[in-house]
């Protein structure tokens, strides 16, 4: 199948220069690679710029109400586990109004592929701060700077016992496609945090890592089973330093240092995944400035298999039905205490 097969006839209305254009193309490519037919693919969204996505995909789609995408997608996937279900959401839709449904879909491990478009701003309502805007961020609803502490999505995912987390940049199409395909291969709730630029209301929000000049030094692309190496000349590596007290911390060492870690997204213990996911995040929470810190991790950070909610629900029904005495209404009524009159 080709990316073209997944394009709908609708004109794409994202603003010129918006990072969502790139995500749209990446998703169409990823869906073609995955190869599940359009009629077995369902894309659910809530409200916001990101939630326009279903209109641009030639699959089954449902552009619903603000924040409820995860709950609606849970209903689709649980009732019809044979369908391939995606959720498109943004930092407001997913982490503010929809926060409860988001954490519970992760806790239950519903087999959804959740694309979280994080531009750290409310775009469709024209420029208010979001739950991922850095502390002190000046916006239309925070003219003197926000006083709120933001979420780091990865931390929330792991706190909710999420089994899959990947992070990608809108400007890095190959990694985005790869993360989407990996998310789809993962059975369970998969979160892909797409760092996207809002060219109108929050231009350059990820520039610190997204700029071509600095990207190689300030990010690390993680590959399963490979050494954690980064830098323009691939001369740096990540290692754990145990010398600083009770808790080890991640440090940068030369790439040839024998302590350089090998990435394993599949370990059940999320401790290292969480440490990796939090690298460099203080630049985005407003708690730290400067560039003398750890690189921001991109790629698939956590990828753990556990039984999915939809499988467990359907398995339990099958098990009960196999042993049950009654299988239809007329048999069910026979189980009642009853008498003729």
């Amino acid at each position: 199948m080709e990316a073209q097969d997944f394009k709908s006839d609708q004109y794409v209305r994202f603003c010129p220069g918006c990072g969502d254009h790139a995500i749209t193309m990446a998703l169409q490519k990823a869906m073609a690679q995955i190869g599940i037919p359009t009629h077995q693919t369902v894309v659910i969204s809530g409200i916001g710029c990101s939630s326009r996505m279903p209109h641009y995909l030639n699959t089954y789609g449902f552009n619903t109400i603000h924040g409820r995408g995860a709950a609606i997608a849970t209903g689709v996937k649980t009732s019809h586990p044979e369908l391939n279900v995606w959720q498109m959401t943004g930092d407001g839709d997913c982490l503010a109004i929809g926060g409860n449904h988001f954490i519970h879909s992760l806790r239950r491990n519903v087999d959804l592929n959740i694309c979280l478009f994080n531009n750290r701003i409310y775009g469709l309502t024209k420029g208010q701060y979001s739950p991922t805007s850095p502390k002190g961020f000046v916006s239309k609803s925070s003219p003197f700077g926000t006083v709120e502490r933001p979420f780091i999505p990865a931390e929330l995912v792991m706190g909710a016992r999420g089994t899959f987390f990947a992070r990608t940049l809108d400007v890095d199409m190959p990694t985005t496609v790869k993360c989407m395909v990996e998310a789809n291969n993962h059975k369970g709730a998969s979160v892909i945090e797409c760092l996207v630029n809002c060219v109108i209301f929050n231009n350059g929000t990820h520039a610190w890592i997204a700029d071509r000049e600095t990207r190689a030094e300030r990010t690390i692309l993680l590959h399963q089973g490979e050494k954690m190496i980064f830098g323009k000349d691939l001369n740096k590596g990540l290692a754990l330093d145990y010398s600083s007290g009770m808790f080890p911390k991640l440090i940068i060492v030369p790439a040839n240092d024998e302590r350089v870690l090998t990435h394993d997204a599949t370990t059940a213990d999320p401790t290292l995944h969480r440490m990796l996911a939090l690298m460099g995040q203080k630049h985005f929470t407003g708690e730290q400035t400067g560039d003398d810190t750890l690189p921001v991790a991109l790629g698939v950070i956590r990828n753990v298999e556990e039984e999915t909610y939809n499988d467990a629900v359907n398995r339990q029904i099958d098990e009960v039905r196999a042993k049950a005495k009654a299988h239809c209404f007329d048999e069910l009524t026979q189980t009642l205490e009853q008498w003729a009159m």
Partner: protein, 615 residues
Amino acid sequence: MQNVVVRFCGDSGDGMQLTGNMFSSLSAILGYEISTLPDFPAEIRAPQGTLGGVSGFQVNLGSGVYTPGDRADVIVAMNAAALKVCTLGSKFNHPGAKYNANESMFKRDAIIIVDTDSFTAKDLEKALYKTDNPFEELAIPESVQIVPVAVTTLTKESLKDSGLDNKSILKSRNMLALGIVCWLFNRPIDRAIEFLEDKFKKKPALIAPNVKVLTDGFNYANNLHLNINTVNIEKSDELEHGTYTAIAGNKATAWGLIAAAEKAGKQLFLGSYPITPATDIMQELAARKDMGVMVVQAEDEISGVCTAVGAAFAGDLAVTSTSGPGLSLKSEAVGLAVMAELPLVVIDVQRGGPSTGLPTKTEQTDLLQAIYGRNGECPAVVIAASTSANCFKFAYEAARLALENMTPVILLTDTYLANGTGLWRIPKLSELPPICPASVPAEAAGHYNPAMRDPETKVRYWATPGMKGFEHRNIGLERDAEKGTISTNPENHELMVLNRQQKVEQVAERIPLLNVQGNPESDTLLVGWGSTEGHLMAAARQLNCALAHFNYIHPLPANTKEVLLKYKRIVVCELNTGQFADYLRSKIEGIRLEQYNEIMGQPFSVERIVSQIKK
């Protein structure tokens, strides 16, 4: 006697609900009509022996039974607090209150069986008596026959060789009382024993002691001391021939949905969140995995309805169940189902409101919320069950109307129907009306869009994920009437508003006409809706007037105006401040309606309706 009202009351730990249920079922099996009213405190366990902890269960049995009865003929009072609550009714915590015929839960010539062991000085103190003679203090009239029985002592005596500890022995007091009541009504005790065997089949060690106490209670009453006559009541001659069971409203609701799903060939999906008094529907369906029912206990009310909307989009018979506060939370998602034109059943088991209100009490105050409580022009079908047993029929009907008309249907029941029990004639699936979901015609493959609808009925065609050639994007935004894509065109919006409205209004052509019960020739017409049918029927009989009772509320039956305008005097009776009356006034221009309203968290009192109408 035509019918008799019995009320069991005691501490909430005394097993009064079980006792009442067993006695009701025994009566039903023997051919009596029954109507029951469980009445329990909101607290799970209030302090033992206090007025706040009194739990009651009332049953009316006989023939021509429409309600659980206003006042009891027989009272079983397991402690001093229960006696006080029964005698004083809603005035039970007024200091110095005395028996008053209008408040008392029993008739002037009632029989009251009391456990004399539960009237010690300490018991009287806990129940806030001032003197050591509760009967005098409450001024219970001499026409009431008090039957003192040392229930606790007799129970201990009965089980002294059982090896059970004291606490377990005391838990069996209710069986002694049940034994006495079974004797009083000539109930054969072997059926009660079968009940116990079934009830305790997972704890077989408890069968023998409970059976012994029950039998001893029966024999005690039979052999020795009781100076009362046994009561004979008429069996029902009004019932249609068939196989019957006693069923509670919530269970009947759940089973109506199961039957509808099978009839429609759809998977039944429930997304719900626990809320009193609706939780039993979710629990019953969660236990029905043998029927393939899928239940998601969601993280909140909103998710409950949203998972259901997702399942509806995916092609299921999708349901969410809740009570008033939950319906408020679900409003936006019900609006989505209206806009996306998806079938959805929303069950609102009404309770006292607003806000948290009276969670365990009954009321009809969500009517206008159900009809209008959403943003925008947002019509949905609203129907209401009127007996515990016909919750089955109307849950089935809600599913039929939703699937055939691609619309949310809100089914209103309430605490009274949900917890009460009635006789239900068990139908075969083949007897139930067909359900034909509005599935898209196969020839639309390749050129389907989600705005395509039947030109006559305006019902949108349903295509569901997995169907090849029907890929489409559904939306909560306004859609173009032709292309089905997002549209902000002004004329298109008006057209779509009218399409959705017309679709719901035309449901009136596919529901039964309104019929008049009672004496249709009378000048006076009582009007009601939902759970008050039994009370209004009893009142109409006494007043020899007509009754028009509504199960279909939005849209109204097509002949509503014609029927109502025949009567000189129309009195709309509801357990709210007049919501249905206001709705009728808005639908029938110039109609003159009187109102009779009660908002006390209790079902109507037939007595009060009759005296009010006679004025």
